[in-house]
């Protein structure tokens, strides 16, 4: 069994670095220790989070160009824990006087109870910045626009059936400063995303395919080769002849993105421990139990270099480190936020994340993936007499309590005698009962890739997260 190479763990640079904090945040940071102290005069635990996110979006298609900001968020979260309930004030901006006033109001009517005691963690200080070779700030907006235009030009002429090519570039800088009585942490996480969508038209209507690159880092993460561009065009054209699959149980091979989505929806969402506290996660009853084939190893790791879900500390001041969720088919532990870990009396992990300062923290995934195995991918295909290669996922939905699984794939291709036949099916819904799906895994590839995407809690609370893994061979119901 080969998992995510251990040598890549903890390689995030935790050394002191220049953050270049905006003046308002820098000024406020100097007061946070006093602010925490003042709140803790009335309550047993306090914390402050300063959070700012802003970015740029460039979109080009055959008929239009657009440059706009990504809707920014900027504000302060004051947290006061009265022993049972987290009381929070979320205030737009970084006005010190207004924040101190809200701190006084927040603690004004609180009565301390003795139900839970929050551990503020060990002493920790540090400033962290995403390492980059080509930081977005190094390029002018005109240069970024020209790069997008060039990508559009490279894709546009590849097939006469193309009716539109869309290039979408986004960059997001996320600044966070966290303080409690033990922590003074600041980070600047830079994320970039490039998406190419090719739409084609035929007698049966319009079809499309896409390629997304989403990472922490700079422009060095966004190269798209001619082969990758052609694959997108070929995928879209092939979909013009797509069929609906005959519903039923199939042998399937999952590409890394589909593997990751299965992982994300099963033992990702299913082990967020706020759901344990709410009695909404069946996994809570299976700690230490077998939940899948011995080939199954699942991690969540916010310290994977370059992955889109990577950060240095979570929104509750926990420094990033990997969590081994499933080990050789046995469920070991979940991923936590502060409140559920405290209420359940379990160790914390660095998974307390907010959509933005206006929303509360939940236990959320970062980069969640199946560990790699040992089998070359071509040997996995060679084992398939008749099956489906699920190549591209488009969405998924969790069911932590029922352990149902829904993954929608944009398309899959038929395999016969270990070879792709040319038949393509779209869309394909994958459904099943999580333990049965995980138990059916009979081969794990020696490859490993992560896809970047968005992740909601139910239908809201969106954060960026990555998921992935190797190629898998398993059985599931398709429709």
């Amino acid at each position: 069994m080969v998992d995510w190479p251990a040598s890549t763990f903890n390689t995030v640079d935790h050394s002191m670095a220049s953050l270049d904090l905006p003046p308002a945040i820098a000024a406020l940071r100097a007061d946070l220790e006093d602010l925490v102290t003042s709140i803790e005069r009335k309550t047993p635990y306090a914390a402050v989070l300063l959070s700012a996110r802003q970015g740029l979006q460039i979109t080009i298609n055959d008929r239009e160009e657009q440059i706009t900001e990504q809707a920014p968020t900027a504000g302060t979260v004051l947290t006061a824990f009265d022993g049972a309930t987290l009381h929070e004030a979320a205030i737009g901006g970084f006005d010190g006087a207004a924040i101190r006033q809200r701190a006084r109001e927040l603690t004004g009517g609180l009565t301390v109870r003795q139900e839970h005691l929050i551990d503020p963690g060990p002493p920790r200080r540090g400033d962290f910045v995403t390492p980059m070779q080509v930081p977005p700030d190094l390029l002018s907006t005109q240069e970024k626009l020209d790069r997008c235009r060039e990508l559009h030009r490279r894709a546009r002429g590849r097939d006469q059936r193309i009716v539109n090519v869309r290039v979408s570039y986004g960059e997001t800088g996320e600044l966070a400063v966290f303080s409690n009585r033990q922590a003074d942490l600041a980070q600047r996480v830079q994320r970039v995303r490039l998406m190419l969508t090719v739409a084609v038209a035929g007698q049966n209507g319009v079809q499309y395919d896409w390629l997304i690159k989403a990472h922490t880092g700079g422009w060095e993460m966004l190269d798209m080769s001619d082969e990758e561009l052609q694959a997108v065009v070929d995928g879209a054209v092939a979909l013009l002849e797509a069929e609906r699959i005959e519903p039923g149980d199939y042998t399937i091979v999952t590409a890394p993105g589909v593997t990751g989505t299965i992982c994300h929806e099963s033992f990702g969402h299913g082990v967020e421990t706020d759901m344990f506290l709410k009695q909404r996660a069946r996994a809570a009853h299976y700690i230490g139990e077998i939940v899948g084939s011995p080939l199954v190893n699942i991690w969540d790791d916010p310290s994977v270099p370059g992955a889109v879900g990577t950060y240095f500390f979570d929104h509750e001041g926990m420094l990033s480190e990997p969590t081994r969720i499933v080990e050789d088919g046995v469920f070991r532990r979940g991923i936590t936020d502060l409140y559920s870990a405290t209420a359940l009396g379990i160790p914390r992990s660095a998974n307390g994340r907010r959509q933005d300062f206006s929303r509360k923290t939940y236990a959320r995934m970062s980069n969640t993936f199946f560990g790699a195995g040992t089998m070359p991918v071509e040997e996995i295909f060679a084992q398939v007499e008749h099956g489906i290669y699920l190549m591209k996922w488009s969405s998924g939905m969790e069911d932590p309590q029922g352990w149902g699984i829904q993954v929608t794939c944009h398309y899959g291709r038929e395999i016969r005698h270990g070879k792709l036949t040319g038949r393509i099916f779209s869309p394909i819904g994958v459904s099943g009962y999580v333990p049965e799906v995980l138990q059916s895994i009979s081969a794990v590839g020696n490859d490993l890739e992560l896809d970047g995407g968005g992740c909601g809690k139910g239908h809201k609370e969106f954060v960026l997260a990555a998921s992935g893994g190797p190629h898998l061979l398993l059985r599931a119901r398709l429709g």
Binding site: D62, R63, E64, E65, I67, T68, E69, A74, G75, T85, L86, H87, E88, A90, I91, G92, G93, D95, E115, T141, L145, V163, N164, R166, A201, G205, V206, Q207, R244, E246, P247, G248, D249, Y250, K278, Q279, R280, R282, Y339, A343, S358, R359, K360, S395, M397, D399, Q401, G402, G404, Q406, T408, S426, P427, G429, S431, G458, H459, R477, L478, G479
Partner: protein, 436 residues
């Protein structure tokens, strides 16, 4: 600060037009876990969103348009922010378009005075009602609940004298109920969004979800099925708001050549076997969750006849795409409205049929309409029995389904939908047990 921004905009000579929105949001949030309130939050946000429109010579010398958007927070420097937006607007070259002109803004009721008086107290009362309703139902217990109450005030001005204001309120309830039988458990999860407390029937939500949870305990696996499928209540609204109708009727998709719909032509490729389809895109729906007086661009709310007897009447267009396609602008889509059908619900429930009560997530492909959505709970109704099942997927295509559907005479309002309570689709497929 709004005056400062407007003065700065008026002093610039490089702009063809501008729009400013001053948005202030006050919100309260309450999060309940078994036996406790996990968190109580108060949120205050204020910002100014500025859209700039510039006309500059394009690469071939012809006049072109570009826009830039910037968000300014109280206390920010206005000048540099506007410079950034103007730079964005000057770099891109699109066909010129205009801004919305001054128009009468309808008085659409979208605010709840009760919630506006005291949001935190409103949430506390709703929480208490929820606890009482669950306590009165011995089939289930409350696993979790979230309550959000937001009040959003907007003032919008543009460079050609549009000046409008509105206040909206939104209530959101998320609940998870658990039913137990021995060591077996089943969950029912629900979300409800409304504009006002009076439209949030917590007791009915508890009753409905308690039934789902209880039936889920007894549910078996799905059997392969092709035939009539019934959707009712909020799930029917979810089906219609899934995105395909919104996308294919958008002028932006038409302009991008991703929608093949044509005004004056049927939206269906195949023959229509069921009731004719008529849809209104309604931003004037009283207390509709997507209703408003005006949208983010300043276009007044309309009730747009979108599809009449299967034929597309217009595209949903903001000012830009309305100009590009030479259509009247409609503004945002709003809520979806269908007229009453001709058939009583009782007739639509003629056996045999499958009823879907809950999906994991109904998420059709916006461009093609194809879907394969996992079934959280369904019922096979035949021979006088209503047998619950879960798992498998409902498989079909939104457009094909709407070409073969009958609508109920009875109607209801579900926040983002006003129309028949029940739809019977002639033929959809449930992926059930079977081996390929």
């Amino acid at each position: 600060m709004l005056d400062t921004i407007i003065q700065a905009l008026r002093s610039r000579s490089d702009l063809h037009g501008w729009t400013v929105r001053h948005v202030a949001t006050n919100g309260a949030q309450l999060y309940a876990v078994p036996g406790a309130v996990e968190a109580s939050r108060n949120v205050q946000i204020e910002h100014f969103v500025v859209d700039l429109l510039r006309h500059t010579p394009g690469p071939q010398g012809a006049m072109s348009a570009g826009s830039g958007t910037i968000t300014i927070l109280p206390g920010d420097d206005v000048g540099p922010a506007l410079d950034t937006a103007a730079l964005m607007a000057g770099l891109v070259h699109n066909p010129p378009y205009s801004l919305p002109r001054p128009a009468s803004m309808p008085d659409v009721p979208v605010a709840d005075p009760l919630q506006q008086r005291d949001a935190e107290a409103t949430l506390a009362r709703l929480h208490e009602r929820l606890r009482a309703a669950v306590a009165a139902d011995d089939r289930v217990s409350l696993a979790a609940a979230e309550f959000f109450a937001d009040e959003r005030s907007t003032r919008l001005l543009n460079s050609i004298e549009v000046d409008a204001s509105q206040v909206e309120t939104t209530l959101y309830l998320e609940l998870a109920l658990i039913a137990r039988a021995g060591e077996r458990e089943a969950e029912a999860f629900g979300e409800v969004t409304r504009r006002r407390v009076d439209d949030l029937d917590i007791e009915e939500e508890v009753r409905r979800h308690a039934q789902f949870a209880t039936d889920s305990l007894a549910a078996g696996g799905p059997t392969a099925y092709t035939g009539p499928v019934v959707l009712r209540g909020p799930l029917l609204a979810t089906f219609l708001n899934g995105g395909t109708l919104h996308y294919l009727s958008s002028a932006a998709a038409k302009y991008a050549k991703l929608s093949e719909w044509e005004i004056g032509q049927p939206i269906f490729r195949s023959a229509v076997e069921g009731d004719p389809l008529t849809i209104f895109a309604n931003r004037q729906l009283a207390y509709g969750t997507h209703a408003d007086r005006f949208d983010d661009e300043g276009l007044p709310a309309q009730r747009v006849p979108l599809i009449r007897d299967n034929v597309l009447q217009t595209f949903i267009a903001n000012q830009r795409y309305a100009d590009y396609l030479r259509l009247p602008p409609t503004g945002d889509f709003g809520d979806i409205e269908l007229p009453a059908g001709a058939t009583p619900v009782a007739e639509l429930l003629a056996e045999p049929y499958v009823e879907i009560a809950a999906f994991s997530w109904f998420h059709p492909d916006a461009v093609t309409g194809a879907f394969a959505s996992e079934i959280r709970l369904g019922y096979l109704c035949e021979d006088g029995k209503r047998t619950p099942f879960k798992g498998g997927a409902l498989v079909g295509n939104v457009l094909d389904a709407l070409a073969n559907v009958r609508w109920s005479r009875e109607t209801a309002f579900y926040g983002d939908y006003l129309g028949p309570t029940t739809a019977r689709f002639g033929q959809l497929t449930v992926s059930g047990t079977g081996v390929s």
